[in-house]
């Protein structure tokens, strides 16, 4: 019997959708679902929702809920991690302090000054989880959804013996968007996508085996609606020749080209029609909305009268777990150590490549080299994040500063002295959440 543990199970919508999908697979219908969160109220909602799904589907599965992490992990086969270390009050400063220095951040959960400070706070928590796993479920596979993906996965891959892969919806989400643009049914699309999380590139993108890039190029350059849906990414595509994953807002932060001046932000980052064109602090707005709205949303779900569908949705962690316990093999894009996978990214860095799940476990596919114009940008982030992980694990504030000093957006806006002052400000604000740092003066 398979035990699947959710750490951060209070992510109500995610937990119930993944459980719904998991239980549709015959080998998993008698699974033990163990839910853990530090917030008892959210945990209760999640527990009730899973019970409801089990009841509706008449599954032999069992569900348990606990605030005790080690208890939840004991004997687990799979551990799904969706945590957020610290409330909005803590991480709003990741975005607000840089803004006072002129750095305009849209999401700030991946890289750059905000992403790096999020990593500094979250890595100790992730390490605690992994250390617990080493004690009570050393053979379990961790599926991590928590950001910043690259730095968290790399820290764990480097420091612990736990097997893990990082999962994100950006690869398949973008692939579906591109298919829609060219009018192709997704079932007829194949692609090879590789790079690092939130900055992976479709090295090829095919419709029924034929290169679909010419069609994409025509759609982006000739159709206004297509261009406007993803202005930043379309600009990148038209100039770098390969399409990149994650939203335009995210990507506008990862390079020098889009947010260093107000006129550029206005031109590229405000008017896009996609879900996140790139306005300032979009993430704060969203989370504040969710902070007040999640309870009502959960209650609405329980109250709804139309039968709740138990059909399998798109949470691909369910397919991965099913494949490993002996079901249908499943290919996905996962975040794994770069051991011979991408030649022109740093060895051992956390890369996002095609991975196969089967009863053999996880097997990443070798990709070769990225095109140089993509590798250049991706390398810059990958190397900065290697530095940040080193700094986070050794508690070295100066190395944190040096990592941020190389961040392209930061470097395009600020002098070295200004960056140093900003990083010191951020450290002071975060002092209580950085136990691994003996001192925090750059």
């Amino acid at each position: 019997m398979t035990k699947i543990t959710f750490i951060g199970a209070g992510s109500f919508e995610f937990t119930r959708k993944l459980v719904r999908d998991l239980l549709t697979f015959p080998p998993l219908e008698n699974a033990t679902i163990s839910l853990m969160d530090i917030d008892p109220e959210r945990l209760d909602f999640a527990y009730e929702s899973v019970q409801k799904i089990i009841g509706l589907g008449n599954y032999p599965a069992t569900v348990e809920a606990t605030l005790d992490r080690a208890e939840a992990l004991r004997g687990a086969d799979f551990v799904v991690v969706t945590i957020l270390a610290g409330s909005i009050d803590v991480w709003q400063h990741d975005i607000e302090i840089p803004k006072t220095y002129g750095i305009d951040t849209n999401i700030g959960d991946t890289r750059g000054p905000s992403g790096i400070f999020r990593a500094l706070r979250t890595i100790p928590v992730m390490l605690d989880i992994a250390r617990d796993m080493e004690r009570v479920c050393p053979d379990a596979l961790m599926l991590n959804y928590t950001n910043p993906m690259v730095m968290l996965c790399r820290a764990l891959q480097r420091e612990t013996s736990i097997e893990l892969t990082g999962l994100c919806h950006s690869v398949q989400g973008t692939a579906e968007m591109l298919a829609r643009w060219i009018g192709a049914p997704m079932a007829e699309i194949t692609y090879t996508c590789a790079g690092i999380n939130h900055m992976a590139w479709y090295l090829d993108y095919r419709w029924n085996g034929q290169d679909a890039y010419p069609l994409l190029c025509r759609a982006v350059s000739e159709r206004e609606d297509v261009y406007n849906e993803e202005i930043v990414r379309n600009e990148m595509f038209l100039h770098l020749d390969y399409y990149v994953t994650e939203s335009s807002g995210h990507n506008s932060e990862y390079n020098w080209w889009f947010r260093k001046r107000p006129d550029l932000i206005k031109k590229y980052c405000l008017d896009g029609a996609g879900w996140n064109p790139g306005e300032y602090a979009y993430i704060l707005k969203e989370y504040r909305k969710r902070e007040t709205g999640w309870r009502d949303e959960a209650k609405r779900w329980f109250a709804q009268e139309t039968p709740i569908s138990l059909e399998c949705g798109h949470e691909y962690a369910a397919h991965i777990i099913n494949a490993i316990v002996g079901g249908e093999p499943f290919g996905f894009n996962g975040n794994v150590p770069n051991d011979g996978l991408i030649d022109n990214l740093p060895a051992h860095a956390c890369v996002e490549v095609p991975v196969w799940a089967s009863k053999k476990g996880l097997e990443p596919v070798r990709v070769g080299s990225l095109p140089p114009q993509c590798a250049m940008l991706t390398n810059l982030s990958a190397q900065i994040e290697e530095m940040a992980v080193e700094a986070a694990l050794t508690g070295n504030p100066r190395l944190v500063f040096q990592a941020i000093a190389h961040d392209p957006l930061t470097a395009a806006v600020l002098s070295l002295a200004e960056i140093k002052a900003m990083v010191n400000d951020m450290f002071r604000q975060n002092r209580d959440y950085l136990p691994q740092f003996e001192h925090v003066e750059v």
Partner: protein, 448 residues
């Protein structure tokens, strides 16, 4: 629907099995199957056998036959090679000439003087085929079943870069055998196998997370098990891991088992106590050649029985990877195979670009090899002794440099254990002279 071309389709039993696999695959039942052979009589037999399957199953597949290779390949999506250049006539020379110099080959299709000359004959044909594909089937994937696998695939990669994968059933065949020895259902077993073709090693053999090697170690102590695979079991006892090709093959890739006729007949053959070793005559020199000659006589009988309807149609696919690969590419449903591909950072401690056999994942994106890392050093060292010979063989085949042929055979582990350098030189010269008709790339020979 894909067009699948078989080159060397006159291997009627293999053709019939592979086509039966294809026709048992729902997504491929409307395929066009193009059969090609230079022997019109065997080609007609092969076509008849496949046609009978299509007809009895009431399928829509088309079956075409060609003696012209380029026409068979035109428009193909997949080209599968199963030919034997020079046939049994050349093969007999591969065995008989070296035997006169004391080189006792049992199978002689992989390494050793036999393997070297088989590669020299085969590579020009494969390169011609790649040129045909470039002109008339530019998107075709080549699935090569022709031995010697490693040298052939390496030459294709080095000379043409044509997309290809080399296929053999030794990995899954051995996996099934080991599972049987320890009484674990094969579909519960997972393994990691890597190295070079015919000398890949099961680095892991597990059920879930349970390591099954302790059970294998116990099994090989049983007499009836040892009687099936004495050479491979000895190799495992001394090198630590189980290897993929049969004991007959395995005995000739290393210097330890068959240095003299007496060693073969008095020490080696008596240890093959189990009847499963009949197909290579229990390790005797030339054993597999004799099996092939006998099989030639039998194949007409097999054919007649099949045509007469005396042989029931297979209802299940064999373990050959061919149909699974084509299905995975056509349907984008993943399959996991062990394939022979160029070593581009796949095995760290084997030479770059040599042909390695590693786990590959197949789907709509094609053949995607997985990196294995480093092999245990003693296994990599064994592989390298074989790769040395392959490298020189490929060099000779592609450049027509006769000296490289001599060097290849001089570095063959079995030959080197038996012969002096002058003996090897004389033996290679004799082989070159005897096989000139199949060696167009050696200009000096042609003018002699």
């Amino acid at each position: 629907m894909p067009k699948i071309t078989l080159i060397g389709a006159g291997s009627v039993v293999f053709t019939r099995n592979l086509c039966s696999d294809i026709l048992l695959t729902p997504a491929l039942q409307d395929s066009t199957i193009a059969l090609m052979d230079i022997d019109p009589e065997r080609l007609a037999q092969a076509q008849e056998l496949v046609r009978v399957i299509v007809e009895r199953r009431g399928l829509k597949a088309r079956v075409e036959a060609f003696t012209d290779r380029r026409e068979a390949v035109r428009g193909a999506d997949y080209v599968i090679t199963t030919f034997q250049q020079g046939g049994l006539e050349a093969y007999a020379l591969d065995i008989e000439i070296p035997l006169r110099y004391g080189v006792e080959q049992c199978v002689g299709d992989t390494l050793g003087p036999g393997g070297v000359f088989r590669a020299l004959r085969t590579i020009p044909v494969l390169l011609d085929l790649c040129r045909d594909m470039a002109e008339v089937a530019p998107t075709a994937l080549l699935l090569n079943y022709v031995n010697p696998m490693a040298a052939n695939c390496w030459a294709i990669d080095r000379a043409t870069g044509w997309p290809h994968v080399g296929l053999c059933h030794s990995v899954q065949g051995t996996g099934e055998m080991l599972a049987g020895w320890i009484d674990v259902p094969y579909d519960e077993v997972v393994y990691k196998c890597a190295g070079i073709n015919h000398q890949a090693f099961f680095l892991e053999f597990c059920r879930g997370k349970e390591d099954l090697y302790p059970l294998i170690r116990a099994a090989i102590e049983r007499d009836e098990i040892y009687a099936q695979e004495p050479v491979r079991i000895d190799l495992m006892k001394h090198f630590g891991y189980f290897v993929t090709e049969s004991s007959g093959h395995a005995s000739e890739y290393v210097p330890y088992f068959r240095k003299t006729a007496a060693m073969v007949t008095e020490e080696l053959v008596p240890r093959f106590k189990d009847g499963v070793n009949d197909w290579f005559d229990f390790g005797r020199t030339g054993g597999y050649l004799r099996h092939c000659l006998k099989r030639l006589d039998e194949s007409r009988l097999v054919y007649e029985e099949m045509i007469a309807g005396d042989t029931p149609l297979p209802t299940r696919r064999t373990h050959e990877y061919g149909s699974y690969i084509i299905e995975a590419i056509e349907t984008n449903q993943p399959a996991r195979i062990n394939g022979n591909v160029p070593n581009r950072n796949l095995i760290d401690n084997l030479p770059s670009s040599c042909c390695v056999e590693v786990p590959c994942l197949v789907d709509g994106n094609g053949i995607q090899p997985t990196p294995v890392g480093a092999l245990p050093p003693q296994l990599a060292a064994l592989n390298r002794t074989n790769i040395n010979v392959q490298e020189l063989t490929v060099e000779a085949a592609l450049t027509g440099n006769g000296e490289a042929v001599h060097h290849a055979v001089m570095l063959d582990p079995l030959t080197a254990a038996v012969c002096t350098l002058p003996q090897i030189r004389a033996m290679v010269d004799e082989l070159l002279a005897a096989q000139t008709q199949w060696l167009p790339q050696f200009k000096e020979l042609q003018t002699k």
